[in-house]
């Protein structure tokens, strides 16, 4: 797969290095995984994003200092029933964004189980980010920022509250993941 990135360099970047970054989005259904990706990749938002069946693959390149990081994003189906298909997508991923909906406590619990599973079964060096999405609906908040932050700290996760609707923290989250120093990054750079 490494060769593909080289064959299609990202035009917007004058950077000398191009790194591929395989990333997977996990989380309960309808927490906003596809919306986060759509916001990050196309800068769009659909109020009624169609539910993802199986998985969707999208890419986006971002310039970080002298490196162009190409995110290869696998957006997965959220329903518990599709749980067993997820390993196909997080296996070999360098990063995972586990998404929950701040207005729904259950989705936070589900996020925790995803984190546990990733810690146990994904690549040991995987960067895990926790995203509390739908931050624009903070009036209906059911998961406190501090609670999620404390959980993230305990498990060494990146944590941000995001809103795919308002674009709040969406790019920041991806960039923060890209910047996370991990030796494995360089391994995937040609």
């Amino acid at each position: 797969m490494a060769g593909r990135a080289a064959s299609r360099p990202n035009g917007q970047s004058q950077a000398s290095k191009i790194c591929q970054f395989k990333l997977v989005l996990l989380g309960e259904s309808a927490v906003g995984k596809s919306s986060l990706v759509l916001r990050f990749v196309k800068g769009q938002f659909h109020e009624y994003q169609e539910s993802t069946i199986g998985a969707a693959f999208l890419t986006q390149s971002v310039c970080l200092d002298d490196t162009t990081v190409k995110f290869e994003i696998w957006d997965t189906a959220g329903q518990e029933r599709y749980h067993s298909l997820a390993p196909m997508y997080y296996r070999g991923a360098q990063a995972a964004i586990v998404v929950f909906d701040i207005t729904n406590q259950e989705t936070f619990a589900r996020a925790k189980t995803w984190v546990k599973e990733l810690q146990r079964q994904a690549s040991p060096s995987i960067v895990i980010a926790l995203s509390g999405n739908k931050a624009d609906l903070s009036s209906k908040r059911a998961v406190e920022y501090e609670e999620a932050q404390a959980y993230a700290d305990d498990n060494s996760l990146l944590f941000m509250e995001t809103s795919a609707k308002t674009a709040m923290n969406v790019n920041d989250l991806f960039l923060a993941i890209g910047e996370t120093p991990a030796p494995i990054h360089s391994y995937y750079c040609p």
């Binding site: 797969m1 593909r4 064959s7 299609r8 259904s29 309808a30 659909h46 109020e47 009624y48 994003q49 169609e50 539910s51 993802t52 069946i53 199986g54 998985a55 969707a56 693959f57 999208l58 890419t59 290869e72 189906a77 959220g78 329903q79 029933r81 599709y82 067993s84 298909l85 196909m88 259950e106």
Partner: protein
């Protein structure tokens, strides 16, 4: 069995997921646009009913698209039944079972078919590490309903309902075949983007969709496979055209003939079977190589899941059992209460009956007593009447005797008077005094002596007369009195008779009335044999 109405009202643990998916299913389509509109409402009902109906699979994301497509063609009740048919009889639900084991098998089959039919594309995908699950998941799980334009989806579902699930392969291969050139030039990312964006877009043109369906129908995997098989079996040197058919057993021959004669989709069942077996063997192999602990762990997990599911089911059933028991108990209690009330009423009625009968008996006794009294009264009165009549008769007799005596005496006195008169006339002295007419002529003093005697006689006669007159008057008086008494007695008798009559009437009425009331409130009084335990 497929009762949408009863199912969709039951609780489902998946309500949340379903609700969240409903407004994300064809959000651009008019029928499913409005939140809380008819389309979304029906869609929710169908999805929820299915999740209740099939507790093992439940609601799966993607199902809503298929349900929505069905809803665009038929009322919700029928759409639900067709969905159940597709899931159970067409076997779509098999894809979801055992961690999508069957789905993975389908991917393998598709890749093998691709390898056989479009080897260059297959090789290209191999180079890119592009696996079937990356592009074909939706094809199998939603039966092409999620992304493709509806005009094409309707064709596909028609074909599927006629031919079964394996037409997915026909359509998939047709899609890959028509997109072969584009895909061969694309890299990994480009290919996936092509599948996601351009491919569905291409079939918005109905002409393209029609051509694709034709192509899907013309993929004759079965025939080709058989030809290959036969080529292996029969010596290559033999001209296979004629001999070939004699070698195939009848069924296959028939299938082949059908395949040739009609341009209808030939479902590659044989080939698929073969690939399925291959896949299973491969899986078996993988499992063998796997750490047995992992295998057991997985097995264990699977069993645990099944156990949890069954426990849940058990809980649900237990809950249902308890609720129905409670309901039955309530019904029973109510029925018992009712029975108590009715029993009480029955007892009351019986008591009333007994009372009424007592009353009746008492009144009968009273009646007999009264009758007795009246009879006695009557007898007494009769006796009285008789006595009175006797008295009257006696009186009458006496009266007649008296009147005869009176007459006799009158006659006698007249006779005597005549005698006296004649004697008086005979006597000269006396004749002077008395005229022939009997008038007394005031006698001269000369006649005083003789007059003296006559006067005495007269006086005595007068006295006798007065006495007799007095006697007569008394007798007359007595007669009148007796008549009065008779009248009085008769009057009395009449009154008594009236009384008897009146008494008779009132008693009779009363008895009748009481009997009537007794019969009106209860069944005609069968003399109630007192039942035990009532």
């Amino acid at each position: 069995m497929c009762c949408l109405k009863s199912l969709h009202v039951k609780d489902s643990s998946q309500e949340g997921v379903i609700t969240r998916d409903i407004h994300r299913t064809f959000p651009a389509h008019d029928y499913f646009k409005g939140t809380g509109g008819d389309g979304q409402d029906s869609l929710y009902k169908i999805c929820k009913a299915y999740s209740v109906y099939d507790s093992e699979i439940g609601y799966c994301q993607g199902q809503s698209f298929l349900a929505a497509v069905l809803l665009l063609h038929m009322p919700e009740e029928q759409a639900f039944c067709v969905l159940v048919k597709i899931m159970y009889e067409y076997g779509l639900r098999e894809l979801y079972r055992n961690n999508f084991e069957d789905l993975h098998c389908k991917f393998y089959q598709l890749e093998r078919l691709l390898q056989e039919q479009l080897p260059d594309l297959y090789n290209h995908f191999m180079d890119l590490n592009l696996e079937a699950h990356m592009y074909a998941s939706q094809w199998f799980l939603t039966l092409f309903t999620a992304k493709f334009p509806l005009c094409m989806v309707f064709h596909i579902i028609d074909l599927l309902l006629c031919e079964g699930l394996s037409i997915i392969f026909n359509v998939a291969l047709a899609l890959l075949k028509t997109s072969k050139e584009d895909l061969l030039q694309a890299d990994f990312e480009g290919a996936l983007k092509f599948f996601r964006v351009q491919l569905p877009k291409r079939y918005r043109a109905e002409e393209n969709a029609r051509r694709l369906m034709e192509q899907a129908c013309n993929i004759k995997l079965l025939l080709k496979e058989h030809c290959e098989k036969m080529m292996e079996e029969v010596s290559i040197m033999v001209a296979y055209d004629a001999h070939v058919f004699s070698q195939i057993y009848e069924e296959d021959f028939f299938a082949k003939m059908v395949a040739i004669s009609k341009p209808k989709p030939v479902v590659p069942t044989k080939k698929l079977k073969k690939y399925e077996k291959e896949y299973q063997a491969m899986r078996e192999n993988q499992l063998q190589q796997e750490d047995p602990i992992d295998r057991y762990k997985r097995e264990n997990r699977r069993l645990q899941e099944a156990s949890m599911r069954l426990e849940q089911e058990n809980d649900d059933l237990a809950h249902e059992l308890v609720t129905s028991k409670i309901a039955l108990r309530n019904d029973l209690d109510q029925a018992e209460d009712k029975a108590d009330v009715l029993n009480k009423e029955l007892l009351l009625t019986k008591q009333k009956l007994v009372d009424t009968e007592d009353e009746k008996r008492r009144q009968e006794e009273e009646t007999t007593q009264l009758k007795e009294v009246f009879r006695r009264e009557l007898e007494k009165a009769d006796l009285e009447i008789k006595k009175t009549t006797a008295i009257i008769a006696e009186y009458k007799q006496i009266c007649s005797q008296l009147s005869t005596r009176l007459e006799k005496q009158q006659a006698a006195s007249k006779e005597e008077l005549d005698i006296v008169k004649s004697k008086v006339m005979g006597c000269e002295r006396c004749s002077e005094v008395f005229s022939k007419e009997g008038t007394l002529q005031l006698p001269a003093v000369s006649r005083d002596n003789r007059d003296q005697d006559m006067d005495e006689e007269k006086d005595s006669l007068k006295k006798q007369l007065r006495e007799m007159e007095l006697d007569l008057a008394q007798t007359k008086l007595q007669l009148v009195e007796a008549k009065c008494k008779i009248q009085e007695l008769e009057h009395q008798r009449g009154a008594l008779l009236n009384e008897i009559q009146a008494a008779k009437n009132s008693w009779f009425n009363k008895t009748m009335n009481s009997l009537k009331t007794a019969t009106g409130t209860q069944p005609p009084p069968p003399p109630p044999p007192p039942k035990e335990g009532m």
